[in-house]
């Protein structure tokens, strides 16, 4: 229900967007932190079912640095805690993206432990595959929101009424939305997402991804989206704070990593967006 707050702030922003300017700011800096971005996606609605299981290792950089360093010399492996089998990950392309030695499909009801060893310190996190539901329909609408220049995307799916669900939507172009089913538990739910004029160039093709996520990952993304500046601004902005994921440095807990280990079920939908009046 964060949307409640955003819309209030949005009006303000909308009235005064022309009063924005880029300024030079001296920002403080900290020693680099290890970033572990391990969001596995199981494409459960495809046949055959495939999975995207990349572990991206990076280092944090100063805010205005133009590049983010990759970590290519780490040891990465995944342990299936139900049978203690181990899958090794390797950075084949030396780009910080570690892929499993053998094709691997995360199973339901199994806890996986991700281990990263870097600079003599060991980092561990656990995840279990989170169920999701397929997208029933994605289509372009012709309504607009504030400026009259937005592109409407209508999303439809059926929520599972037996459990609390949390979803992460990836609308391409680094546009994300995290929602919970608290207010539509068990219903055929439909809502609209609006691309701003500067977020998209029509005509184009976008991929909409919907993932089932844990409650903790939902909270994580809610804050992540907030702090990435997508919705920030004005006196209604919340006080930013550090965003801790679910991975622990077991060697030196003070040197905690950032990032998250998560396994979701994901459904994708590709759609062509065209110019409308």
């Amino acid at each position: 229900m964060k949307s409640l707050k955003y819309t209030t702030a949005l009006i303000l922003l909308f009235i005064f967007t022309n009063c924005e300017k880029v300024v030079e700011i001296d920002v403080p800096s900290i020693p680099p932190k290890l970033i572990i971005d391990a969001a596995f996606e199981v494409n459960f609605d495809e046949f055959p079912v495939t999975a995207n299981t990349v572990v991206k290792l990076r280092l944090s950089a100063d805010y205005f640095d133009t590049s983010i360093p990759t970590v290519t010399n780490a040891t990465v492996f995944l342990t299936n805690l139900s049978n203690n089998s181990v899958i090794n990950f390797n950075d084949l392309d030396q780009d910080g993206n570690y892929v499993p030695d053998v094709a691997f499909l995360p199973q339901s009801q199994v806890t996986y432990e991700l281990t990263v060893i870097y600079n003599g310190e060991t980092y561990k996190g656990e995840a279990m595959r989170v169920k999701s539901t397929p997208l029933t329909n994605v289509e372009q609408g012709d309504e607009t929101l504030f400026s009259g220049e937005e592109t409407q995307l209508k999303i439809e799916f059926t929520d599972d009424g037996t459990v609390d669900n949390y979803y992460l939507f990836d609308f391409s172009n680094n546009l994300f939305l995290a929602i919970e089913d608290r207010f539509f538990n068990g219903s055929d739910y439909n809502f609209s997402f609006f691309y701003d004029e500067d977020e998209i160039t029509l005509p184009t093709t976008v991929t909409v991804k919907m993932s089932g996520i844990t409650q903790e990952y939902f909270t994580y993304w809610r804050v992540l989206i907030d702090q990435s500046g997508q919705n920030a601004g004005g006196p209604f902005e919340t006080i930013p704070a550090s965003l801790v994921g679910n991975i622990v440095n077991t060697t030196n807990s003070d040197n905690f990593p950032l990032g998250y280990f998560h396994i979701s079920e994901t459904d994708s939908y590709q759609i062509n967006l065209v110019e409308k009046n």
């Binding site: 229900m1 924005e20 403080p28 900290i30 932190k33 539509f184 801790v244």
Partner: protein, 786 residues
């Protein structure tokens, strides 16, 4: 308490004294005047009229030349032979009326120096109207920000901060009724129609025992009663809104009515977009006043105000206050004044988001009964006492589908109920010509009443600390308790002592000191730099404790050059227990388990205020400077927990080290007058990122938890000018017109409302984006009266 009564009985033995009492009115409108000084120069004693224009003073039998004086009015000097208890009403003539030949020195500052009350600022409707403001809308809240110790989070930020306190710690009273939302358009304009305002007082410290329920300040606003002599229309046409006020007698000099309206123009700001949209606000004030007889007065007043935004049918947002207030003034005797108030007040917030498919509303409703007595026992002893009971219902929110196809399932967050009772007694005691005291005690009792479901947590801990991930997390409730509405879930009792004293060094100099304890049982859930209309109030209870403040203040007061100038120096220290803060990533909106994101902490603020005023002459105004610090600390509950900011003190979001304001008004001649303000405030505390990383391709700034609010926005400063033109022809006609030309932010400084960090979509470079709200804004307003 015993001491008080023994003092009272002692006093009643005094001999040969008589009481002079009555009411002081404005000569032309018959409005009662608040704070008029009634002074006996021979005895060097005096009193001031109360909120209803009433005064009472008991002095030895004799002949006196008494002085009645009031700022902006010609003083009155009258010979009185006091040989019995006497009722005498006075009528004062406003200085603006054409009586150029008579010039009597206004001399009201003298009493201010004597009274133990300190840390109070007064603004007249006239001053408020002459202060230049953005878009020409005269504004109480924007005016008080020019006073020492008062700041705001900037343009477009609602509320105000007093002596480093939060915006929810201000008690805003409109004719004794509590106003929850003080601003329109998210903070651009305040809800108070300047035409309807009679008197504004801001208490920042030494707060009298008759006020309670908020920690930082009391903004006490009284509306006009309505002209009971003549039918009058006042109005104004501005760039943003138009105002109209109609007042007149119902029965001449006995009863009157007043209806005032203010409305912005529809489609405010938004016609820039070719959408079908609306945005407007309005206020409606009405008041009826019956003077039943010399001893009884009845007032019925109402206020309705609303903001409405709509963008096609996709988005509709409306919110506002409603207040209905019935008051009865009764004089039990010429020494005992009473006022009974019955007040209903309501705040509503509504939102419809069609693209998500829901309607949302939240709000707070309360019923308030107040019975206040003012007992003028003798010229050196006055007693105030009374009771106050407020019953409140809180609707934290409900969501309902807005169309059949929506898919939203209706949900109601649990309503909360509370009752706040208070009783107080306070004495104004003149011990000697030099030494005076004002001491009192307020007792408050807060009952959190039964609600449908109260969440229960393991070990009574709604927030748990995850030591492994080093973060606070919301606990999952283990069950709910159910209550009847008459059950008491939690009960709090507090004694709130208040003490002020003044010591008069000489006729022009005094020192004062005060201590006050305040207790606040309601909390505004807000995690932003300034409150939003969406923020909800929540009562204290099992998981949230009442906020308790202790404030000490000392001051030095001096009038210079026979009252031409005055100087006020004050230092204060505030200590607040139970100030809440929020865990990282807390979601405050539509959260039915709000206790799971709250951490309990404390706050403190201290500072020094200087106010130099020029009270007379064609150039008047003031220079205010405040040096202060406002901090918060949230310790871990156990030694293993870090709390917030590693348990160290951090700047509160409204910490402003330096705050300078200058206000000057200059009457050039009968036709032209000019006004200027200059404002400088240290930039607001903020947080700059210490690094960046990427998750799923999204660039995210890193914020450091150990340096909360350690960075600052650039300093805020601006200069505003206004000129008022009163045409010469006014003199000979009923129609009185006036043009006000204003320039807001003359040198067009783009003050930072915020600085945000984000990745540029095209260059993929990270950028710091500063948002500013107003550059140079010219304005013109036409005011009229007939």
């Amino acid at each position: 308490m015993l001491v008080l009564f023994s003092v009272m009985s002692l006093l009643s033995f005094s001999q040969q004294k008589f009481t002079l009492s009555g009411t002081v009115y404005d000569n032309s409108s018959n409005e009662t005047l608040i704070g008029v000084s009634v002074y006996f120069p021979e005895l060097k004693v005096g009193t001031t009229t109360n909120e209803y224009g009433f005064y009472s003073i008991t002095v030895p039998q004799g002949e006196y030349q008494i002085q009645i004086s009031y700022l902006g009015y010609y003083s009155l000097s009258e010979k009185i032979s006091l040989t019995a208890n006497t009722t005498k009403n006075f009528k004062l003539i406003e200085e603006t009326e054409s009586l150029d030949e008579i010039i009597i020195e206004t001399n009201i500052e003298k009493l201010n120096i004597r009274t133990p009350q300190m840390s109070v600022n007064k603004l007249s409707a006239k001053t408020i109207k002459s202060i230049p403001v953005v878009l020409g809308e005269a504004d109480i809240i924007k005016s008080i920000i020019l006073l020492p110790g008062v700041t705001s989070a900037g343009e477009g930020a609602s509320g105000f901060n007093v002596r480093g306190g939060a915006a929810d710690q201000n008690l805003i009273l409109l004719d004794e009724a509590i106003v929850f939302n003080s601003s329109h358009l998210f903070g651009f304009f305040s809800v108070f129609n300047p035409d309807v305002i009679k008197d504004v007082q801001l208490y920042k410290g030494g707060i009298p025992a008759r006020y309670g329920g908020r920690l930082s300040s009391v903004l006490d606003i009284y509306q006009k009663e309505g002209n009971s002599k003549d039918f009058n229309v006042t109005g104004g046409i501005g760039l943003v809104s138009s105002r109209l006020l109609v007042e007149g007698p119902l029965e001449k000099e006995k009863s009157s009515f007043l209806i005032g309206g203010r409305s912005s123009y529809a489609h405010l700001f938004l016609p820039l977009f070719d959408n079908d949209n609306t945005a407007y606000f309005y206020d409606l004030n009405s008041k009826i006043n019956f003077r039943i007889n010399e001893r009884n007065n009845l007032f019925l007043s109402t206020y309705f105000g609303k903001d409405v935004f709509g963008i096609s049918d996709n988005f509709v947002n409306d919110y506002g206050n409603a207040v209905v207030n019935l008051r009865w003034n009764h004089l039990f005797s010429d020494k005992l004044f009473s006022n009974l108030s019955l007040i209903y007040s309501d705040y509503f917030y509504g939102l419809t988001l069609d693209f998500v498919g829901f309607e949302w509303d939240s709000g707070i409703t309360n019923f308030n009964l107040k019975y206040d007595f003012k007992h003028y026992l003798s010229d050196n002893f006055k007693l105030s006492y009374g009771i106050n009971n407020i019953y409140s219902k809180f609707n934290p929110g409900q969501i309902i589908p807005n169309r059949p196809s929506s898919g939203i399932v209706a949900e109601k967050l649990t309503d909360k109920y509370a009752n706040e009772f208070a009783a107080y007694i306070e004495a104004e005691h003149k011990v000697s010509d030099r030494l005076r005291f004002q001491y009192g005690l307020r007792f408050s009792n807060f009952l959190r009443l039964g609600q449908d479901e109260l969440n229960v947590y393991a070990n009574d801990q709604p927030v748990i600390y995850n030591a492994q991930l080093r973060k606070y997390e919301s606990a999952t409730r283990t069950g709910v308790e159910t209550f009847d509405r008459s059950d008491v879930i939690s009960s709090f009792n507090n004694f709130e002592p208040r003490l002020s004293t003044s010591y008069i060094i000489d006729d022009e100099t005094s020192i004062k000191a005060s201590y006050n304890r305040m207790v606040q049982y309601l909390h505004l859930l807000s995690n932003t730099a300034s409150p939003t209309p969406l923020d909800v109030w929540t009562p204290s209870g099992r998981y949230i404790k009442p906020q308790i403040l202790d404030q000490f203040a000392v001051g030095y007061f001096k009038t210079l050059k026979e009252g031409k100038y005055s100087l006020e120096l004050e230092g204060f220290f505030k200590d607040i227990q139970n100030r809440i803060d929020y865990i990282n990533g807390a979601n405050l909106v539509a959260n039915n388990e709000i206790e799971t994101v709250i951490l309990n902490g404390q706050a403190r603020a201290y500072g020094l205020e200087v106010l130099l005023k020029k009270n007379e002459g064609s150039l008047t105004g003031w220079l205010a400077y405040t040096l202060s610090r406002s901090e918060q600390q949230t310790l871990g509950r156990t030694p293993n927990e870090p709390g917030i900011n590693q348990g160290r003190w951090y700047s509160s979001p409204f910490d402003k080290t330096h705050d300078i304001s200058i206000n000057a008004s200059y009457d050039l001649n009968k036709k032209w007058s000019f006004n200027a303000n200059f404002l400088f405030q240290t930039g607001q505390p903020t947080n700059y990122p210490v690094g960046q990383y990427e998750i799923q391709g999204l660039n995210v700034p890193i914020f450091n938890d150990n340096t909360r609010n350690a960075d600052r926005l650039p300093a805020y400063h601006r200069l505003d000018l206004s000129a008022t033109l009163t045409p010469r022809k006014n003199k000979d006609r009923k129609w009185q017109g006036e043009w006000v030309f204003g320039l807001y932010n003359v040198y067009g400084r783009m003050n930072a409302a915020s600085i945000n960090f984000r990745q540029n979509r095209e260059t993929l470079r990270n950028e710091a984006i500063q948002t500013s709200i107003f550059g140079l804004v010219p304005a013109v307003t036409y005011n009229f009266k007939f």
